[in-house]
Amino acid sequence: MSTVVGATHPYIASLLNGCESGHDQLSWLGERRAAALERANALAVPTTRDEEWRFTDITPLTRVPFQPAVAVPHPGADDVAKFIIPEAGVRLTFVDGMFAPELSANAGLPYGVVVTSLAAGLATHGSVIERHLARHARFEQDVFAALNTARLRDGALVWVAKNQQCPTPVQLLFLSTQKAVAAYPRCLVVAEAGAELTLVEEYASLVDNAYFTDAVTEVAIGDGAQVRHVRLQREARDAFHIATCAVALAKDANYASHAITLGARISRHDLSVRQGGEGAEARLDGLTLIGGRQLADTHTLLDHGRPNGRSRQLHKCIVGGAAHAVFSGKIAVAPGAQLTDSAQESRNLLLSNKAHVDTKPQLEIFADDVKCAHGATVGQLEAEHLFYLQSRGLSEQRARNLLTYAFGAEVIDGIPVPSLVEQLEETVLAETQSAE
């Protein structure tokens, strides 16, 4: 029984306070948690001196020694109602990192689709979990992924059997309700060969407090399987949100991500997509809409490891107030990954003169017969566009709002869940409407 002794970094030590390894009944799980704990102990909190964290200063986070929730709150069904997506046939709700079955719903799933808590899933689908859990989200160099893995107690398991289709979207809802609490949400999504799934992963809050979410999501997509993944981050404005999402694509797999970032004081989303099989296809859409003093950082990696891969990425940021948006997107093409076709766009709109953006699109190409391109723009609304709308009788303010809304709508319209599109359009409209 090894308790934590001496994490090298004092803040990590405070986060790991009380975290023990060795209690797991399953040896493989115990080993993985112990390895993660060891790494978490060895790693330090990243600073702006680390290249990957150059623009994101997380010092405000390190001022509070967040601890996992002790008392389990019981929010009422009414509190949760506004987060419910009507299309979703099944919903798992987690409160402060703990599974809340009373707030979850299951309208009956077809044979071959499993949506359950990890703890319950271990009994029935142990081998699937063993094959994938902590195998895709690498924690060797990532202190937050290591922390999440070391703190792993429960989470969500979504499994779709070979050639099965999940008819309705699956909703995973992570709610925070307490101040100074750290939650370590964990999702494991496995789509076996030929399966199809639409997933909505949402992070939200019932309170306006400072809390910390350190999430890890792993998505494994089998040969020819298809996963549409909507990720909605609307944490409280004072919260901290650091998330890692690792996606593994097999041969001819298809993955579409729609990541919307609205909340948190400081947020970070690390999305890595690895093409481990030929002919895999990925589409990554992202929208960051922030204002005030928010900081939102998105890091993506598209790793084309095999030939004939295809990827399309569109990341947009709308930055108002004195907010700061960061985007770093890497497209890597491994030696031998011929005929890769990859395109990436980073579009940034600055609404105020205190807002700022750091964007870093990167290409790392080691194969010659490829087509790769990236583009980045930063600017404000086009004067000509504004003029055109004004010539049609719109006030300048209204024209501005309309154009800003349209800028964000391009990403939102791609979301495969109609009620969510509607809801988000309203949010964007509300956020971008300055007084008319």
Partner: protein, 460 residues
């Protein structure tokens, strides 16, 4: 190997060596102080590890920091050591002929000390000062003192600090107010003595309304052991001034197995100090085992313009990590970046650039385009652009593509009776056209040939 007796300092670096260099050059006290300060700062610094290049650790104590050909007073080109002239002949640089034909003044740097300077007279008539930096220190100490180290401070980075401590020669160029330099200024740098690190220092100042075009070209003979080259180039443009700096770099890149070759760790930076000033960098990088250089523009003056045009070609085991930095500080500043990278063989070619728009840079505008071409399956091409925008009235655009030479393009040309080798050369030249157009004519011709030569045999 050329056999000119060189007066060399012992290997290694310490304060005594710096004092020796300073004494040899009869330098004033303030310059020695600057060198020592830079050296002491350098001692506290660590070698940068972030570039995307790999090389064995450099032993800075195993470098000769000073070597000079025996001093001779030369009145004309005829008196130049025939041995030296023959070396130039071998390099295919008939300097005197070239100078006469092209009307180019050549300040010959042969192992760190200026041996002959031509056309000085003609330049002096309009008040242009073009001489070696040692002469400038002696003859125009106030000018040198006023500007040296203002664009690249002695502690700027590891190699700039090293250069500031031990620089031995380089060029100095001063264009007074309102003068348009009547000819293109050119320096041929060459590295000669085995393992003598070259630490040139170039300082170009264009006063109000002045303009100048400066050419830098480089070749080096074949040596097996790696040579370190850490130059610093500083440009200062005052109000309405215009500086155009062009480079063709073809230093020894090592053999096909990647043994030998020059390490080119250069700091080049231009300061658009005055309003409406303009600095333009054009480079064709084909040589060196490792190229690590980011010619940059600091756009301080309102309405100032920075430009960067680059072709970087790597073959065999060459590594290049190059790009530019455009720092927009003044209002309505504009910058343009066109970078073309070509990788062949087992080489690795990276573009690394920064576009930074400061909070006060109202109406700033940037356009960047970085295209890469890969020839063969074992090479790599990377793009790392950093874009930092702190002003919402700025407009920044960046685009990058990676491609290869199309089969259909080759087929089309083959069908027209053009052989594969020549077709590739034509396509490459087309790919680089936007950059070659910026080069002065002689350089453009040379660069076109150079690329063809460098890629010989790399396309089957």
């Amino acid at each position: 190997m050329t056999d000119i007796e060189a007066e060399t300092a012992p290997r290694g670096l310490n304060e005594d060596i710096i004092r020796l260099i300073s004494a040899k050059k009869h330098e004033p006290e303030w310059l020695l102080e600057l060198r020592l300060k830079a050296y002491r700062h350098w001692l506290t610094m660590a070698e940068p590890g972030w570039p995307n290049v790999k090389y064995p650790k450099i032993d800075f104590q195993n470098v000769i920091y000073y070597s000079a050909p025996k001093p001779k007073k030369l009145k004309s080109m005829d008196e130049v050591d025939p041995e030296l002239l023959r070396t130039f002949e071998k390099l295919g640089v008939p300097m005197n002929e070239r100078a006469a034909l092209a009307g180019v003044a050549v300040d010959v740097i042969f192992d760190s000390v200026s041996v002959a300077t031509t056309y000085k007279q003609k330049l002096a008539e309009v008040g242009v000062i073009f001489c070696s930096i040692s002469e400038a220190v002696r003859d125009h100490p106030d000018l040198v003192r006023k500007y040296l180290g203002t664009v690249v401070p002695p502690g700027d980075n590891y190699y700039a600090a090293l250069n500031s401590a031990v620089f031995t020669d380089g060029s100095f160029c001063f264009i007074p107010k309102g003068v348009k330099c009547p000819m293109e200024l050119s320096t041929y740098f060459r590295i000669n003595t085995q393992e003598s690190g070259q630490f040139e220092r170039t300082l170009i100042i264009a006063e109000e309304g002045a303009s100048v075009s400066y050419l830098e070209g480089c070749t080096a003979p074949k040596f097996d052991s790696n040579q370190l080259h850490a130059a610093v180039v500083e440009l200062v443009a005052l109000d309405d001034a215009d500086i155009k700096y062009s480079t063709v770099q073809n230093w020894y890149a090592g053999n096909e197995q990647g043994v030998g070759g020059i390490y080119n760790f250069v700091t080049k930076r231009g300061l658009c100090k005055g309003a409406n000033s303009k600095i333009s960098w054009t480079q064709v990088e084909t040589g060196s085992a490792i190229t690590w250089k980011y010619p940059s523009c600091v756009l301080l003056g309102d309405n100032s313009i920075g430009e960067f045009y680059s072709v970087a070609l790597t073959n065999h085991h060459q590594q290049a990590d190059t790009g530019t930095k455009m720092v927009h500080i003044g209002r309505n500043t504009r910058s343009r970046i066109i970078s073309k990278g070509i990788s062949a063989g087992q080489s690795n070619n990276s573009y690394r650039g920064l576009v930074k728009i400061g909070a006060r840079a109202e109406g700033a505008r940037n356009f960047s385009q970085c295209d890469s071409m890969l020839i063969g399956t074992k090479c790599g091409a990377n793009t790392f652009p950093y874009i930092q925008v702190h002003n919402n009235s700025a407009k920044v655009e960046h685009e990058a593509t990676t491609s290869k030479i199309g089969e259909d393009q080759l087929f089309y040309l083959a069908q027209r009776g053009i052989g594969a080798e020549e077709a590739v050369s034509m396509i490459i030249n087309g790919f680089c056209r936007d950059v070659f157009q910026q080069l002065p004519m002689e350089f453009a011709v040379e660069a076109t040939k150079l690329l063809g030569l460098k890629l010989e045999g790399s396309v089957g």
